[in-house]
C-alpha cells in the first residue's frame, strides 16, 4: 500500500482521531514503517509548512497538525528498532544565556519536530557550556539558538566559541534566530544559518543538512 492520502489529509486537517485510525489501518495492512513516516506524516507536514508560509493556514492550525503527527508517531515509534528510525537530523535547541523569551523558540522547535527532526529542547537561559555538553551527548547535527534581546546576542557568539573549544564545531551546524538577530550578525559570528521565522527555520535546517 503506497497511498497515504487519507492519513495525509487528516494530518493537514489536524483531525487526530482520523489520523491515528489511518495510521493503525496502514500498520494493520503491513505498510512499511518508514513509508508511513515519510510518505504519510512528513509529506503532510511539508504541505502544512507550505500552506502556512503562503498564508493559507494560521499558527494554531499548523500546530494542531504537528500534534496530530506526534499522536500518530506514538503508534509507529515503538515498532522501529532502536536507531532504525531515520530522523531528518538531531537538533539541540534553546534560548541563550540570560534570555527568558521562549515563545518563538518553542514555535521553531515544534515546527522542526513536525518536519521530522529529533529535538532536544534545553529551555531558556541556556549557557554555552550546556549547549555544548548536550550537543556532544546526543551527537547533535544542529545547534539552534534563539535570542530576543540585543543584550543576549553575544551569548550566541560565545556558544559558537564553546563548541569550537570542545572540538565539535565542525561536526554541528549552528542556526540562529530571534527578533534582533540579522543575516549580517549570523555571518559576523560565523553561524551557518539564520532564519527570520519558524517556517524558514525548517527550510534552513533542511538546507544545512542537505535534505529535502
Amino acid at each position: 500500500m503506497s497511498d497515504f492520502k487519507g492519513l495525509t489529509e487528516a494530518v493537514i486537517k489536524g483531525d487526530i482521531q482520523t489520523a491515528v485510525a489511518e495510521t493503525q489501518t496502514a500498520l494493520d495492512a503491513g505498510a512499511n514503517l518508514q513509508d508511513i513516516l515519510d510518505k504519510g506524516l512528513i509529506a503532510a507536514m511539508d504541505q502544512v509548512g507550505e500552506k502556512f508560509s503562503t498564508g493559507q493556514m494560521f499558527v494554531p492550525q499548523m500546530l494542531r497538525s504537528a500534534k496530530t503527527m506526534q499522536e500518530c508517531m506514538k503508534l509507529i515509534k515503538p515498532l522501529f528498532q532502536e536507531d532504525e528510525l531515520a530522523t531528518k537530523g538531531k537538533v539541540v535547541i534553546g534560548t541563550v544565556r540570560q534570555d527568558l523569551h521562549d515563545i518563538g523558540k518553542n514555535l521553531v522547535a515544534m515546527m522542526m519536530e513536525g518536519a521530522g527532526f529529533a529535538i532536544t529542547d534545553l529551555g531558556v537561559d541556556v549557557s554555552p557550556k550546556d549547549f555544548t555538553q548536550k550537543a556532544q551527548e546526543v551527537g547533535a547535527d544542529i545547534v539552534a539558538m534563539s535570542a530576543l534581546l540585543s543584550t543576549t546576542m553575544p551569548a550566541m557568539r560565545e556558544t559558537i566559541e564553546a563548541l569550537q573549544e570542545a572540538g565539535i564545531r565542525d561536526k554541528v551546524k549552528v542556526m540562529i534566530g530571534g527578533a534582533p538577530v540579522t543575516e549580517n550578525f549570523a555571518s559576523e559570528i560565523k553561524a551557518d544559518s539564520y532564519a527570520p521565522d519558524a517556517g524558514s527555520a525548517v527550510i534552513a535546517a533542511k538546507k544545512l543538512l542537505s535534505i529535502s
Binding site: 494560521f58 499558527v59 534581546l149 540585543s150 543584550t151 534582533p180 521565522d197
Partner: protein
Amino acid sequence: MESLEIPTFQPRLRVLNREQALAIHGAALEILEKTGFKMEHPRALKMLADRDCEISDGDWVRMPPHLVEEALKSAPKQISLYDQKGAKAIDLTGENSFYGTGSDATFTRDVETGERRRAVLKDVGNFATLVDGLENIDFAMSMANPEDVPIDDIYVYVFAEMVKNTTKPIVFIADSGRDIAKIHEIASSVVRGEEELQRKPFILNYSEAISPLRFPENVMEKLIFCAQKQIPLCLPSGSNAGGGAPVTLAGAMALGIAENLVGLVVHQLAGKGSPFLFGPNVSALDMRSSVVCYGCPEWSLTQAALADMRDEIYGLPIWAFAGASDSKVVDAQAGAEAMFSIITALLSRANLIHDVGFLEYGSTSSLEMITMANELIAMSRFYVKGIPVNDGTLALEAIERVGRGGPGSIFLMDDHTYDHFMEALFLPKLLDRSRYDAWKDESAMDLYKRCNMETKRILFEHEVAPKADVVLKEIEHILKRT
C-alpha cells in the same frame, strides 16, 4: 438673565460592566490560590511563606486572596512624578492620562536617510531631546538598545543619555539589582540627593515578570529595590493573547492581572505604601506572522477594560500603551494604528501610556512617528474635552448680532469668534488642510515628510535645560566606574 453653569460631559469609553470586572478579578485570585506561581527570588519566597502562602516543589507558591486585599489597601492610589527640576509633571490619579515613548527597540529609522539601522547611543539622546521639545509627550523612555555601549551597563548608559537630553520624567529599564543601583545613584545626583528623589521622584522603573506565572530572581531584585527606595514601578508580564496567555482576552487579562497582583503583594510586603503602577500588557499574537502586535485593537481593548477594573475594583493608576504600529515605515497603516490606540487610551482614561513611536511590533523606533503622535494626541485631547455648554459657548448674542446684522455681517468678523476660536477649535500644525494649490506649491508634501522636517527642526532648535557641571561630572564618574 442668570448665567448657565452646566458641567461638561467628557466623552468616555467603557468596555466592561461591573459583573465582568468582578469575574475577571475573581479568576485572577483563583489562579493565585489554586494554580499558583513560580517565585525564584529566595527572599520574596520567604516573605510569602511567612504570610500564609502555601509552598510546594521548592518555589511554587499558592497565595490566599486576603494578601491581595491587604496589598491593594496599602498601595497608594495616587503616584506623582516630577520633572528633573522638581516641578510636578505627572499626576497619576483618577482620569489623568500621560503619554511617553517606549524602551528597547533594536533598530531605528534614520531621520536623515530613512534607512533602518541598528540604534546607537546618540539616538537615545535625540529621542530624549525630541520628547523634551514636544508639548504632548509627557515622559521619556530610551527608545533604543544602542549597539555602541558596553552591554553589561547598557541601561546605565541609556539612562545617563536621557538625563542629559531631557528635563521630563523618565521611565527606565534595568537588568538587575546591580545596574538599578547605579541608575538610582545617577537619578539621586540629578536632584542632589536620595531623599529629594524619594520626595519628588522623576523616575519610574519598568520591569517585567514572565508569563505564564514565573517570577525570576533578577526581576524581583529590582522590584524589592524599588519598593524599599520608594521608586515608583510597574511590572507587566507579557500575557499576550495566544502567546504568553490564553487566546481569549478575558483569560489573558485574568492571567496578566494575577501576575501583577503577585508583584503588588511582594512589593507591598517589601515596602508598605510604596508606589506601584498597576497593569499587565495584554496584546495579541498574530496568528499568521506570529509577531506580538503593537498596532492591534486587542491591546487597546484590554487596557480599556483594565481602566474599568481600576474604577470598579483596584483604584490604582494603570500602565498602558499607544501610538505604536506593526508597520515597517511611517505610512497610512502606522497613522491609523497610532491614532486608534491614542484616542482609545484617552477615551478609557488610561494613566501612564507608553510606546509612542514604535514601528515594526516594537523592533524599530521612529522620531517622525513621535512627532506625528504628538499631533494625534493633541487632536484626541481636544476631542475628549467635550463640548462646554454655557452662555459664552451658546453664543446667542453673537447669533443675534450676525443674524440681524444685515448683508456682509459674518461670524468670522465678530468679536465672539476672535475671543473664542483658539479654544473652541482644534488647530492642527502638521495635519494638512491647505488648499490644493498651496499644497502643491509647498512641494506636495505628505504627512511623513512634514513630520520629518518638523523633527529635524526641533532637534536643531530645541534647547534642553542643561544639567549643572557637578551633575555631569558625577554621571561621568559613575559611568567610568561601571
